[in-house]
Symmetry: C2
Subunit: 1014 residues, 2 copies
């Protein structure tokens, strides 16, 4: 630490605070409604959550009834009244105690909207212009940001780009009239002599609704197409463009885009374009250095705005949910440290980089000032930026001390504005917010200006002590988790396509698969490869001429052989300790993990599954292996029953016998290995019959179990034609257990056949059947459509709708019907359809040519029953493609509302109100998945209670259940209620036993620790 610099920074900070002494941001002013409410929110976490959620939903509450209802639901649950603080200004109107709900509603609405307006410079261009003029009068520069970056379709992206064109045009007319803000820079027409007066900030992801990390080039390409014309216009008006940085997933795209635009021959000579870096990213220093290096190499001066970063909660949460390393610093002072370090690097390179310091933190600001000073950076090479409406004293202080201050000014509709408001409120009220600490909590000056490295050390020490104390408390309570065979279960991470090697991994693996395509896959029986006379080809559905493999087909003799092998293996396998069986699964998971890309690529080619979904299918398979490996350890130890002295009663489980596992092709690795591993780990040898459509993927299981050295006969791979050996296997007297996933018709057939006890049969067969679904998503009138539209899209058309969990009905409330369907229609029209191996494509062919016909027939029925909303039938010429169809006007009486189609067909149903929507949702024979998009707490509760399906999602799509987190499976005609990947699943594969030992002999008995003794 440079002690001299440190002293200067602190002195500067003190001076800064002194210059604004006594002022406070208006948001904390307790004399006003906002200040009171913020104060209450900071004291009461529950209220804060409700308040912010309410702010979020507010723009959707178009009627006073809806408004009043939501206020009631959000703020007066459990018999409580609406908090006094919310009523404050309603009372202040003078009407006194007896204010009506309606009046209160409108008062609260206007207060909150007022709060929003505090952060938004205007709802339209005209208002914004007025705001800019006013700001400039106060000597502030601005950058303008158009709200509404959540685009779900290309039409919306077009509209968003258009919005920018409008504001550029509007400014073009005005800015010439404005006097530049005073300063010493060389360029007399520019503010401070250094910076264009018209300054624009833009969120690039908004310019291409289909942007995804897996296909960066396409994303950059599409954004570029919309951004270049805009930039051209900005250049024409001598303006400045800053490309904002959004979530981590867009960082590489954004930087690529920036470089491309900056180095484009058309724009190389125009340096007024910047990009944003976020100090909360753990890789910020590296990114900054790379970018500066690039600028130097290209000999192109650049501009960087350095901020702390605005998506911390989101990034952390997503990383946690996806199993990724957290990409942002987890201690606030770490961001501050990184900021100062990156700022120094940028300032050191001021010859190449124009620097915008974006921060409200006085310590950070002071540090930047002093670093710049110590480095002798000319003033026209850096400026300061703060957000419009945030921390007014800071901007004032900045103006006093530095002069060059730019306000980041969002403008636009109140709907996206409210979302923006929530982010600002969160920032203001976070415990670690500098503004909150400075102005609401009144922390000490020394603490506020402290070098963040010192703060970090203290915080780490304190957290360490807390962790230690907690560990000691747990140990004292005997609750410290005992060291088990395996570390605690964690889901396999999702694939992170921002990592280039992950993208390359797929490309390579697909090529690799192609190299070995066409080989003949044997059966695997009793630990040996077994060839059969009959083989069946399996092909690429996107290119039927491409042979994947020829697969040997088991007939009755092979089934007999497999059952004989399983029978021989049973006694030893049954007696193998659970720990050992669990180890096999754990090792199998490791093998699958090693071959992850290869197995995933096989799915891309054999069943036409998109990259991410193929990868997640293998990941889910690994999850099943790891979860069941652990769960058997939970279930295996005998449990003592009762505490009567003189007897020991132990309850434990034993395997049922030989299991037939009949797997589907849609989750060809995950579901197959899930059922197989559950059977195996509980001690039951398996006859595994994969679907003929996915037999090559099924062979991946052979490869896994071969490598881990599972004893011969425990796992037998027997693809074969159902007509030849299906019933034979099901009815075989030696089978005790059938695990099936597939259609309702086949499932019910198996249930019925298996129930008949055959001569010589030892057990009543247990059938575990996961069957179909006709899953609905309800769109409530207050649903967040930015989320609902893409989730419906993915739920209905992900993997071509070929999931039992897929959404095939969307039930939309009347008052939001048009808005939702038009956005959905546009979104559907924006997606690409084509081979799954090209990651740009959202949808591909169905898994096999044999499936096409049925789906096309169902499409005809749907078209006849309803009114087509969208039909995407511009399809590739070759391959098992079917049109994507959305039909409106479907009612429960229609076949399209009742029959599982298992393809990209979505029925839209209209509901008068939420209760009717629930009724419609429940109007089928199935009960598998369902979802509701709503921001009404009451409707959420109603759905919890009455939307009776196996897996219900609130504000989330119907697909993508994860092992442990969302044990999966339905009831009614969707299955027998077994729930894979959950705590009750393995029980089904076992029979319980109780052993009672009378421990009393001659009137004496050992007394156990936990006996109910005197």
């Amino acid at each position: 630490m440079d002690q001299q610099l440190e002293t200067q920074i602190i002195a500067r900070g003190k001076e800064f605070f002194k210059s604004i002494s006594g002022e406070a941001p208006s948001i904390f002013n307790k004399g006003w409604w906002t200040g009171k409410v913020m104060d209450w929110a900071m004291k009461n976490e529950d209220f804060k959550i409700q308040l912010f959620r309410f702010v979020d939903v507010l723009p959707y509450l178009n009627t006073s009834e809806s408004l009043a209802r939501h206020i009631r639901e959000y703020f007066s649950g459990d018999g409580m009244d609406v908090p006094a603080v919310l009523k404050f200004s309603a009372n202040a109107t003078g009407i006194g105690g007896a204010i009506t709900g309606k009046l209160m509603g409108s008062t609260i609405r206007s207060q909150i909207e007022g709060m929003g307006r505090q952060f938004i410079i205007g709802e339209n261009v005209k208002e914004a212009m007025k705001g800019f003029v006013k700001l400039r009068k106060d000597n502030f520069a601005f950058t303008v940001d158009l709200l509404g970056e959540a685009t779900v379709s290309e039409e919306e992206s077009d509209a968003y780009a258009l919005g920018y064109h409008e504001v550029v045009d509007a400014l073009a007319k005005e800015y010439q009239k404005w006097k530049p803000l005073p300063g010493n820079g060389p360029h007399k027409d520019f503010d401070w002599g250094s910076s264009p007066k018209a300054n624009f900030s833009i969120k690039p992801s908004a310019l291409y609704s289909q942007a995804k990390p897996v296909d960066q080039d396409t994303a950059v390409e599409h954004i570029y197409r919309r951004l270049a014309p805009l930039y051209r216009k900005i250049k024409a008006v001598e303006g400045f463009l800053c490309i904002d940085m959004e979530q981590v997933k867009y960082q590489d795209i954004t930087i690529d885009l920036y470089k491309r635009l900056r180095s484009d021959p058309e724009f190389r000579d125009y340096p007024h374009i910047g990009v944003v870096l976020q100090a909360y990213r753990t890789d910020v220093q590296h990114t900054a250095e790379q970018l500066i290096g690039w600028a130097k190499a290209e000999k192109l001066p650049i501009a960087i705005r350095l901020v702390k970063g605005a998506y911390w909660d989101y990034e952390t949460l997503m990383a946690k949910q996806c199993g990724w390393p957290i990409p942002v610093w987890t201690h606030k002072p770490e961001s501050d440290i990184a900021y100062e370090k990156a700022a120094r690097t940028i300032l050191e390179n001021h010859a190449w980089v124009y620097f915008s310091c974006g921060s409200h933190n006085v310590r950070t600001i002071s540090a930047v000032m002093e670093i710049a000073k110590s480095l002798g950076v000319p003033e026209d090479r850096y400026e300061f930026q703060v957000l419009y409406g945030m921390g007014e004293p800071v901007r004032k202080g900045l103006l006093n001390v530095a002069g060059r201050v730019r306000l980041y000014c969002p403008y636009g509709d109140l709907i996206p504005g409210m979302a923006y408001l929530v982010r600002r409120l969160l920032e203001n009220t976070a415990n670690e917010s500098f503004l909150r600490q400075s102005f609401a909590d009144g922390a000490e000056l020394e603490r506020l200006l402290e070098n963040p490295e010192i703060t970090l050390k203290r915080e780490l020490k304190q957290k360490d002590a807390e962790a230690k104390a907690k560990a000691e408390r747990l140990a004292a309570q005997g609750l410290t988790p005992k060291s088990d065979l395996f570390p605690p279960f964690a889901n396999e991470p999702f694939i992170d396509f921002t990592v280039a090697t992950n993208r390359q991994g797929f490309t390579d693996a697909i090529a690799q698969i192609r190299k070995t395509a066409g080989r003949t896959l044997p059966l695997f029986i009793g630990g040996k490869d077994v060839t059969a006379s009959e083989t069946l080809p399996t092909t690429n559905p996107a290119k039927p001429s491409e042979l994947i493999a020829n697969v040997c087909q088991a007939g009755r003799p092979e089934i007999d052989a497999a059952i004989a092998a399983a029978t021989a293996a049973f006694p030893a396998w049954r007696d193998t300790p659970a720990e050992e069986r669990a180890q096999y699964l754990h090792k199998a998971a490791a093998v699958a993990r090693r071959r992850m890309f290869e197995f995933s690529a096989m799915q891309v080619l054999e069943v036409g599954k998109q990259w991410d979904q193929a990868y997640h299918d293998v990941g889910e398979g690994i999850d099943f292996l790891e979860y069941y490996a652990r769960d058997i350890l939970r279930l295996a130890p005998p449990r003592r029953m009762g505490r009567a002295p003189g007897e020991w009663n132990h309850l434990f489980y034993q395997p049922k016998g030989i299991a037939a596992v009949i797997a589907p092709w849609n989750f060809p690795f995950a579901i197959a290995i899930g059922m197989v591993s559950a059977a195996i780990v509980t001690g039951n040898p398996v006859i595994f019959k994969p679907s003929s459509i996915a037999s090559a993927i099924g062979y991946n299981l052979v490869e896994v179990f071969k490598e881990v050295g599972l004893p011969p006969g425990v796992f037998n791979y027997c693809p074969g034609r159902s007509a030849v050996m299906g019933d034979y296997l099901i009815e075989h007297q030696a089978i005790s257990l059938i695990a099936f996933t597939g259609s309702m018709d086949v499932g019910l057939h198996i249930v019925e056949r298996a129930a008949k006890v055959q001569p010589g049969q030892a057990q009543v067969k247990r059938v575990i059947a996961e069957m179909g679904g006709k899953n609905a998503i309800i769109i409530d009138d207050d649903a967040d459509l930015d989320e609902a539209v893409p989730q419906v899209l993915y739920s209905a058309f992900g993997f071509q709708g070929q999931k039992c969990s897929a959404c095939s009905r969307v039930i939309v409330l009347d008052s939001i019907y048009d808005k939702f369907t038009s956005r959905l229609k546009q979104a559907v029209q924006s997606i690409d359809i084509g081979p799954a191996e090209i990651p740009q494509n959202f949808m591909g062919p169905v898994a096999d040519a044999s499936l096409q016909k049925n789906i096309i027939a169902a499409i005809a029925v749907a078209e006849s029953e309803g009114k087509v909303l969208v039909k995407r039938d511009n399809l590739p010429a070759e391959g098992a493609y079917v049109p994507l169809l959305i039909v409106e006007g479907i009612a429960p009486k229609h076949r399209t509302a009742q029959e599982e189609i298992f393809g990209p067909v979505l029925a839209v149903m209209r509901a008068k109100n939420f209760d009717q929507a629930l009724e419609l949702a429940m109007s089928t024979r199935f009960a598998l998945t369902g979802a509701v998009f709503t921001r009404s707490p009451n409707n959420m509760e109603k759905a919890r209670k009455n939307f009776r399906v196996g897996n219900l999602y609130l504000n989330k799509g119907t697909a993508g259940a994860m092992v442990e987190r969302q044990p999966f499976g339905g009831f009614m005609m969707s299955g027998v209620g077994s729930k894979t990947g959950g705590p009750d699943y393995l029980l089904q594969f076992m029979d319980p036993r109780v052993v009672t030992e009378n421990t009393m002999r001659r009137g004496f008995t050992p007394i156990a620790e936990d006996d109910d003794w005197i």
Copy 2:
């Protein structure tokens, strides 16, 4: 506390100790094997248990192989070697380190037998006589006790009585030659001038193998018949008879017997008969006062030996297992206090009572001496007794101080001798043993002689502090059980027939039932009584002419009505909170408890169930109600799955729908209400079809649920003929759930029929089927036959063998075959057969005339397949009786080894060794219950592993599983592995659901306490 007396007692005690200073009981002499082993056992609880168990089994180890094997199994598990202490004397023989297993075995055997001989005066009359002569030389009197009181048949009781006749005869020849021991009493021919030289102690229960508290008169009658001739002989030789006191259950019988004998005109004039009271009984003072009062009233001088009591562990354990109040003091000093108090009462009444003070406790002895002195009791009115071989210094000290000392001298075979040895070793090594404290632990004199009231106060204070500390520890750990809706589950207490009101309760209730017999029982549908045109009579199987009731029969229209009522009730019942549903069960339990005798009596009359078993059936029904009421509270709260932040996943359960409950007649209340209550508490309305044989008992459920006010339609009572409405009910599309208990054939029929999905059916039906058994008990070659014989008897013939858990095969190891079968045969011949309402009868009629035919046919098959060991066909003329049959020579190929007979037919199979026995046990299609009687730790483990049945019992019979302690049910053709009364049962009645809420909005989310957050 009388301080002066107290001072004298302590002085007396000190003098006593002084007189024996430096001496120690030989058992604690560490110079010898016994002393070393005792020392090790007192330091090492596990070794102590193994050692005592080994002592117990030792007499059964007839070959050196068996002996060596057991030594290995008992003492060298887990790779440990036999403890050095056991080898001590083998090494001491001088052969050195390399002793062979055989030699070690024989050495250990002889050491332990030597240990046994220390407590036994001789193995036969001749040896005993020698011992008596030697004792008398040392101035000790004696009382003789014949070992082997565990009689399981009337032949054994005869033999036991005969043993006493022999010893009386032998003494008669000798005792005249003996000089009386010196003393000042008036009777010159008696020892000490006061007591007959020939003194006999006898355990009355041994004299009637069928003695049971439920029928005290019969027990007293039968014992009297064998005891009176013996007493006549003793009187003839001027001897003394003491009737020993055994377990609590025999106390009333023993005292009745004593009074009867004492007051019999033949014996009134002969006062030399005593009885024993136990100070550890909490009612000892009352008993003593009552008895003395009786003596005074009858003007008959009596004799009382007061002891502390020898069955403390057993009594405590049994009370705990049966749910009874503990009948003995739970703090050792309480027994000492009670002793001193009762002794004072007896001594105060020395005019009427001759007192024998039986104790090794110097404090107690000193107190008695000083109390007697203070009361001026003449010396010829009291004496002291100690056990032969126990606490030699005490007997010496007594001789020194008091002079009048009698030794209690067991004699007889080493087999019962070893059991006696175990009791003595336990007494010596108990932490609270006075002898151990005095001579092994070397406690301080003051403490040893302390007034027990002071000791008690201190101990209570200490225990109190410990309990408090524990509570505080638990509270600090947050583990204090939170107050729930109900107190913790406890099984309904067994009926205690020593309580007269319990016996009277049955008699009264039977009479009461008879009063209302013959009424017509309506159906109960939708909360209303519904009469049907058809009725079916139900009768008393012991007296077919006795009509119990006419029961309305449901046909298809009534089933439709019931299903309609259930369907109407479903939505509201499903939505009723689990707590409320649980409350109905809890209240139903209270109703059943109140009407316990009535409901039990109904079973005695309608299905011919014995009193205790009828009572326990109702008790089990109550257990189901109470257990499921609690278990739903465990299962109802949604469980959070995973800990990913930003989403809440909750797993919970919902009811399946309408349940058909088809109940059997053999546990007509318990099983019926178990299935019904499980369905109801999980939210499923029920159509209940009782067996036609037990429809009146089935109506008890109506009475219970009516009284608790279950909503209409939730429970519907529909008895009816299977042929008319059985399949109709099973196949009904509205039924989601079938809970069945009954035969395999019917069960499999239901499984098959229910599997076919009917038009309009919503759910794949869940069938919960408990079916038959062909249960085996294995008798290992080291089995304790005193336990095995009565347990086989009860398992096979309790309730006429009409239990799915009944033993129908007994598999006996070769080397114990003759011994076991002959004892079993004798035992079977000793039981009484007749109407269940007469409690003396062990076996009654089968439940219905309709069952007779099949059983008689099966008997004919059994007789043709095997060789009859016993056939009890002397049966009452009227009633549905069938012969009790045991056949030998049955092999797995025989129908008698394979088919469930459901009657009193037992097949005996012979096995070469334990492995073959297990093989035989597993050679049927069933897997319900099984049992093994063995004292081999290894064979116990083998059975645990390989005796694969639903409920296996080690050293316990196959019948009588208890809710929670032994969740019940089998697999293979015995059922679908559901296990009633266990933690997995209710799950079957429900479908799991998961609700996932995405809690993230606009990138922010509440963070929950248990989130995996940073």
